[in-house]
Point group: C2
Chain length 247, copies 2
Amino acid sequence: LSTLTPEQLDRLRVVLVSPRNPLNIGAAARAMSNFGFSRLRVVNPYEVAFREARSAVGAAALLRSAEEFGGVADAVADATLVVGTTALGHRELQHPLRKLEYGARLIRRRLASSPVALLFGSEKYGLANRDLSHCHWLIRIPTLEAHGSMNLGQAVAVSLYELVRDSRAATRKPEPVKPATEGEVERLTAMLLEALKASGYTNPRTVASTEEKTRRLVRRLHLPERDIEIWLGIFRQVLWKLGGGAP
Amino acid sequence: LSTLTPEQLDRLRVVLVSPRNPLNIGAAARAMSNFGFSRLRVVNPYEVAFREARSAVGAAALLRSAEEFGGVADAVADATLVVGTTALGHRELQHPLRKLEYGARLIRRRLASSPVALLFGSEKYGLANRDLSHCHWLIRIPTLEAHGSMNLGQAVAVSLYELVRDSRAATRKPEPVKPATEGEVERLTAMLLEALKASGYTNPRTVASTEEKTRRLVRRLHLPERDIEIWLGIFRQVLWKLGGGAP
């Protein structure tokens, strides 16, 4: 799945700062679980929300083992790299702001050797300046300016996806479907031609050109081997019904 | 922001099949809005959920303009490419299954010229075989097998992110912070050395080697130009307090 090893996945600390909504805490935990991360930390959560999220039916072990901290400093103390997330157009540029794609690359590199903390702010206000001062730099998810603020659970999902996704997969072709052999395609072509003849589609004066056109038509279908028998069966049945051949 | 033009963004139809939860419909709409897409279609939704989602406070215009269909065939009729999404390990492999990264590339290519429909199934059951039969192929988001099922809103967010993200951004370096000049760094080094002397840190017998070590120490900080004056100010103050210089 991931370009990260289990040890590397385990080195990421996902830190939610002051989350207010139990559904978002749950969604963040689910995204972590989906992508193979396990270390959730919550700073100064709205207590009711955190309790509710942890006791929710179906809450992952991950959520139950989430650690709670009173401040960002403690929550990131074991990390050698602290990265904040921000919506576009977000106040201060005291920090270098990196595109998610580029920042994820730097985070992956650091995870190879030591812990990294990735911070997400509250649903309403994002990360406060005080929280940001603990960060080495910030990443932003490439959303539209006008609709910059992402749902917290979705922001976590997109960020973690970018961390684990396989950049080589975009160009690596999938296993090709086994194509039909030319002999199989020609058998089908012949049967189709019989059906065209039997149905009266073929004009006797242009039989030769129809045959060529039909041959090209069938080849443009790029049929997989497994579909040949199905098509043969279909035309065999049609032919039989047209009285042009035996079923 | 996006590698897709406004026309291309407008050619994608995001089709939610049988969604049950108004929060998920809202989250899907929000993710679309975040990434610049606008055409939401809903097939056979749980009516109460759809009505609730559309009338929610703050629901985007996008959600209110969502089109409702009674079946998948109608919802994808204007598309030339229909792509389903699935969780890993999902039943039938009647369809070619492509990694999200690779599938997104094919979708982007098709969006250059004609409409593409991207289907998401219900929260509980995903896409039914009947829905899948309308698809040319499927993509799967690279989640862990054991935790394969993604939250609907998050699955939409991750898929759309992959469609719009800039693959070149991963290797393109951000604007570098302007580094301090060697003259500035040396000014700071000199002041630090004065402070070390005034504080008694420097052993008179090893002054020369201390100076060299300190010079290297300061250079390893790779200070940006804008921080030089701050550090000079700090050491100037320390020196003054130590009685070693004028404030």
